[in-house]
Symmetry: C2
Subunit: 294 residues, 2 copies
């Protein structure tokens, strides 16, 4: 019964978890043990590799703070975060018509609740450096019906790839804002064109990226969280078409359907009538929300 | 190419690791990503479960110190440590005859290098509380030929399940010693009968054990590391037959072949001639070492 050949070990561990009262926790631990043991067997894991792995996890925990969640970064760079997002969207899309909804992607670590509510057409850059960009689009349901009063919560880094919270220990909000769509479901605002940037690479995850010769960069992107009554709240990103690293996102958040062409314009009167004395870009991005299930 | 359906995510992550220069690291990361993603898909991992898992790993790193390696405890309680031991022994046993070698098990966290070299027949208890026990056996190769001068490094907790290092911040060694076998490969010494004890349960691993209603105890056992020139060094444990929790070792280290019957004797002249004024036990355990490969 307790013979410890390799299969026997796995069986004994599964037996030990079999009495877990909560059925979901039991399911999670059972699957975790199966895959963990299968991994070790498949690679014939050596003691020194096992220890290196545990030391890596330990260092990941030790370097972490509230402001630096290194395990989330590890999850991001292993594609696990994106997998969890995709699974959640797959569940939501079981609702009728939801397969036509805009694709979700990872939220990232830079969301800051409480961005100012501003008028449509406002410039939310608030001093963020970068090339001016006019953003516009419509929020609809999956049948293309406009959603009036939908809430857009928008945030991005600046034209140098830095977020406000990275620029100062007491930052003021830049390139962040909340809008409500008009009666036709439309939104429009000004900000800057976000640039690509590196993920934090001075910790264990950075060591992993170097040892595996992976790129540490994320392509330029603008974050959106879009919500409307009766619909599934969408957390996604709009990616800057042609950005460096557009096909090598270090956290696997980029989806082809979210890449937007940024059109460049000479100085002059912009689409909303604003007089621009410098060249600027425009980007159009429509959002389709899935119906909430009852 | 970068379509982010769930299979697409896994493929993209594997592609990202494909350029890893070191072939073994590439193999490890590839298998890790496959199993990690397969786990998430299999259980349809929810965002709040994902976050709870990352918070658990983070807490495991944060509580860890040199003296409290919580990730090793986690590995132990998930049976991964024992799996790595079993895989190592399977590799060693590919040498001719090695399948007859004594089974290995986990080293545990309480090894203390530099235990005193003592004469055969010594009492190594050195003040450790517990019932006196006479240990004896032979060290041979896999053909049963005695190995003279084999080194045994022995350590255990006491009769209350405590190791010396747990009893004081500046402990002196108790229930630890190193011997060399005599010309017939024999060893014998006195110590105490080790008792069962709980693993540290005031951290994340303890939380896991409670949530899954698992036993946190290890059955009584004595650690041995046995080495001889030309042979694979063996790290194993001798388990006290009939100990509480003998069939529920929290770290899955117990093997049936390592369980030893502790015979109880009335006061009187012991096997080695020592006059015992209290009841005592005796335990006999032979060790067979695998030949080292060239």
């Amino acid at each position: 019964m307790s013979e410890y050949n390799q299969d026997g070990i796995t069986r004994d561990v599964l037996d030990a978890f079999a009495k877990t009262p909560d059925p979901r926790l039991r399911e999670l631990m059972t699957a975790l043990v199966k895959h963990l043991h299968a991994f070790a067997r498949e690679v014939d894991l050596k003691p020194e590799e096992w220890l290196a792995g545990l030391n890596f996890l330990n260092a990941t925990g030790q370097i972490s703070t509230d402001k630096r969640p290194e395990f989330i970064l590890l999850s991001d760079t292993l594609g696990l975060s994106m997998m969890v997002v995709a699974l959640a969207q797959a569940r939501a899309s079981q609702a009728k018509g939801a397969t036509e909804a805009t694709e979700a992607t990872v939220e990232g670590p830079f969301y800051w609740a409480g961005a100012p509510d501003v008028e449509l057409g406002s410039d939310i850059a608030n001093g963020a450096t970068g090339e001016p960009t006019f953003y516009m689009g419509r929020v609809t349901d999956c049948d293309g019906q406009p959603l009036a009063g939908a809430l857009l919560d928008v945030w991005s880094g600046d034209g140098h790839g830095k977020y406000d919270v990275q620029l100062s220990s007491e930052p003021s909000m830049q390139a962040r804002g909340r809008f409500r769509t008009d009666a036709q479901g439309r939104y429009w605002f000004w900000s800057i064109r976000p640039n690509y940037y590196p993920i934090p690479d001075d910790g264990p995850v950075g060591d992993m990226m170097r040892a595996t010769e992976r790129s540490i960069y994320r392509p330029g992107h603008l974050h959106l969280q879009v919500s409307a009554p009766g619909h599934v709240t969408l957390t996604t990103q709009l990616f800057v078409g042609g950005s460096p690293y557009i096909d090598a996102d270090a956290v696997f958040g980029k989806r082809d359907s979210l890449v937007v062409d940024f059109e460049t314009h000479p100085p002059g009167k912009a689409i909303d009538g604003r007089e621009m004395r410098v060249p600027y870009h425009s980007a159009s991005f429509d959002v389709r929300l899935a119906p909430a299930t009852a």
